[in-house]
């Protein structure tokens, strides 16, 4: 019976059109979804529960608007949903400390999270929390077996490594060949009834702060080549410039 926690983050839909107004990204009209890698973390957490028993808590951090991501996790099958309440922006240091505090408070024994969030792509949350808790940590995990402790598979140089992980541990999850379960009506009705447990934590000050956002530079126009005669040149460019062959 394990106390399993999965960290979920609400991010702008990866299909959404992002606009910068002034020097800040304007997300007011953007649909928000669970960060895609977190879906693999939820799936892995649920598999862990199925294999070893226990309960899964989904944990997020944010304002009331972030409850949606918890309800989505509940609809897929987690047992408890918890939000650390804060509307302000924080740096990774502050976020990881707050998450570590609450993980200790709820007695987590194993933590799953996405390998990185779709908005920042930083990938620091999992290892950062493990560091604070003094736990084992493996990143980019594509498959987990739950026999004695955990045996996980993660990419290593030239192939995959099978790694034995003692608990407690933080596992950050990648896609692998995992098929994530989808919500159903029963789950959605349970999510509707479920209460989000809201926690307040004294947030530590941020050491870094965002000064301005800007759009990535526009992609340069593509080049087109016609006729068989160009084939050698195209092959050279693909090899030397694009590095794809």
């Amino acid at each position: 019976m394990s106390n399993i926690v999965v960290l979920v983050k609400q991010v702008p839909d990866t299909n959404a059109k992002i606009v910068v107004s002034g020097d800040r990204v304007d997300l007011s009209a953007v649909k928000k979804v669970m960060s895609p890698y977190d879906e693999f973390a939820v799936e892995t957490a649920l598999k862990h529960r199925e294999a070893n028993g226990g309960e899964v808590t989904a944990l997020t951090l944010g304002g009331a608007g972030a409850d949606k991501v918890l309800k989505d996790a509940k609809a897929i099958g987690v047992d408890h949903i918890v939000r650390i309440d804060t509307e302000d922006e924080h740096d990774s240091n502050a976020l990881q400390s707050a998450l570590a505090t609450v993980l200790t408070e709820i007695g987590a024994e194993v933590v799953y999270c996405g390998k990185s969030a779709a908005d920042t792509g930083a990938g620091s949350t999992g290892p950062g929390i493990a560091e604070r808790l003094g736990w084992a940590s493996v990143s980019n995990v594509i498959s987990v077996a739950f026999e004695s402790g955990l045996t996980v598979i993660a990419p290593s140089e030239g192939g995959n490594a099978r790694i034995s992980v003692p608990l407690p541990a933080v596992i950050s999850c990648d896609k692998g060949d995992m098929k994530v379960r989808k919500p159903n009506v029963k789950g959605i009705m349970q999510a509707k009834k479920a209460k989000v447990e809201v926690k307040t934590v004294a947030m530590q000050g941020s050491t870094v702060s965002v000064v301005a956002h800007s759009m990535p530079p526009a992609k340069p126009a593509g080049k087109s080549y016609e006729g068989g005669a160009a084939a050698a040149e195209v092959a050279r460019l693909l090899r030397d410039e694009a590095n794809v062959i």
Binding site: A75, P183, N184, V185, M189, A191
Partner: protein, 391 residues
């Protein structure tokens, strides 16, 4: 094509509950992932994929508004949204769900015995058993009251004789709700796959609803146990109350097809360059797009309000007729205009518009043809029935 995010010009979403939105998004995502990549192939083969039956059961959307017996017990608005999203995929998919929930499960739920409900409904809402609804006959379509199929009371069983035609899901159905005359009065009977004297050959060659199975139901001295009659209803009210629920779902479903066509037309017109500019930059094309959005928005408000009236029980039949008639009519016209905006590409299976257009021809005809609904509304306005010459 750019990802689909729904069409909601009047922010109808703000009128939906949290779970209605979640259910809509669940079905929308499923259609994107499991239906759209496979639908053209299913149409070409003329099949309804069995994996769709399984998934609809697992999602828990079959018989959406029915309560108890393992059924979802959702609002009618949620049911409408489910139909909308399914039909954005394909009318065949929505037809499957309409027939299962509104035409096969509903009469058992409303008119069946406790034993019948306990026996059939849990397995039908889970998708394990498929249902169909047999009303139309070769010679009686708009006029089912004159049906020929009859049942005779043989003491310890009923004997069913006759034929039904155009029956969605017929060949793949485990359970058929069949309407037949017993001593001249229309009654509902539950016929099961494998019953002696019952067969359900598939009708082939449709240019419309190709991903939906359509069949004949043939009864030749078909023996039905006594406990398979639905005791709770007599006369046309039985089949018509089923049709009311299905028609309600169609009024939403047709909007889904219209939204798919609008989305495709919008995206295509922005990328198609003629005379040096995107065709979307020309006023004639914008006029078409603006008209589509106008009609979809009106149709949404109609469907939404009707849904809330269904939920609080303040609706009447003619309101459903108006919504079914209007929304299918505009959807079909939107599909045609979208086809036009796509130029020659519009006839290809690479775009959904011609498929929707062909599907909607069936949708316009089944569940009461467009003009039958005009007659229903005409009778409501004038008090004079104009279905036959004898007033």
């Amino acid at each position: 094509m750019e990802p689909y995010e729904g069409v909601d010009f009047y922010d109808i979403e703000s009128l939906l509950t949290e779970e209605e939105i979640m259910i809509r998004d669940m079905v929308r995502d499923w259609v994107d992932e499991e239906v759209l990549p496979k639908i053209e192939h299913a149409c070409a083969e003329g099949v309804f994929l069995d994996e769709w039956r399984v998934a609809l059961g697992e999602m828990g959307v079959l018989g959406a508004p029915l309560k108890g017996y393992g059924c979802p017990g959702l609002s009618y608005v949620a049911y409408g949204l489910i139909c909308q999203e399914l039909e954005r995929g394909d009318s065949g998919l929505r037809s499957f769900a309409s027939v299962q929930g509104s035409l096969a499960m509903y009469p058992i739920w409303d008119f069946g015995t406790e034993e019948q409900k306990n026996h059939y409904l849990p397995k039908m809402t889970s998708g394990e058993w498929i249902g169909c609804f047999g009303l139309t006959e070769p010679d009686y379509g708009s006029n089912p009251g004159d049906m020929i199929t009859k049942a005779e009371d043989m003491g310890d069983h009923y004997l069913l004789n006759g034929a039904k035609m155009w029956i969605t899901n017929g060949t793949i159905a485990d359970v058929a709700v069949v309407w037949a005359k017993l001593d001249g009065v229309i009654r509902g009977f539950i016929v099961e796959k494998g019953d002696e004297g019952f067969s359900a050959p598939e009708m082939k060659g449709k240019h419309s609803l190709k991903a939906s199975v359509t069949s004949e139901l043939v009864f030749q001295d078909c023996k039905i146990p006594k406990d398979r009659m639905l005791p709770g209803v007599k006369g046309l009210r039985g089949p018509f109350s089923c049709l009311n629920n299905a028609r309600f779902g169609i009024s939403w479903g047709a909007l889904g097809a219209a939204m798919a066509c609008f989305h495709s037309a919008k995206t295509y017109s922005l990328s198609r360059i003629q005379f040096d500019h995107p065709i979307a930059s020309y006023q004639l094309v914008q006029n078409k797009l603006a008209w589509m959005l106008r009609e979809i928005t009106k149709g949404q408000l109609l469907a939404y309000h009707l849904g809330r009236k269904k939920d609080d029980g303040t609706w009447f039949n003619e309101q459903i007729s108006l919504a079914k008639m209007n929304n299918v009519d505009i959807a079909l016209e939107i599909a045609r205009v979208a086809r036009d905006i796509h130029g020659a590409n519009g006839v290809l299976d690479e775009y959904p518009v011609m498929r929707h257009m062909a599907n909607l021809e069936s949708v316009k005809t089944y569940e009461g043809t467009h003009d039958i609904h005009n007659l229903i509304i005409g009778r409501y306005i004038t008090g004079i029935q104009a279905f036959t010459r004898t007033v």
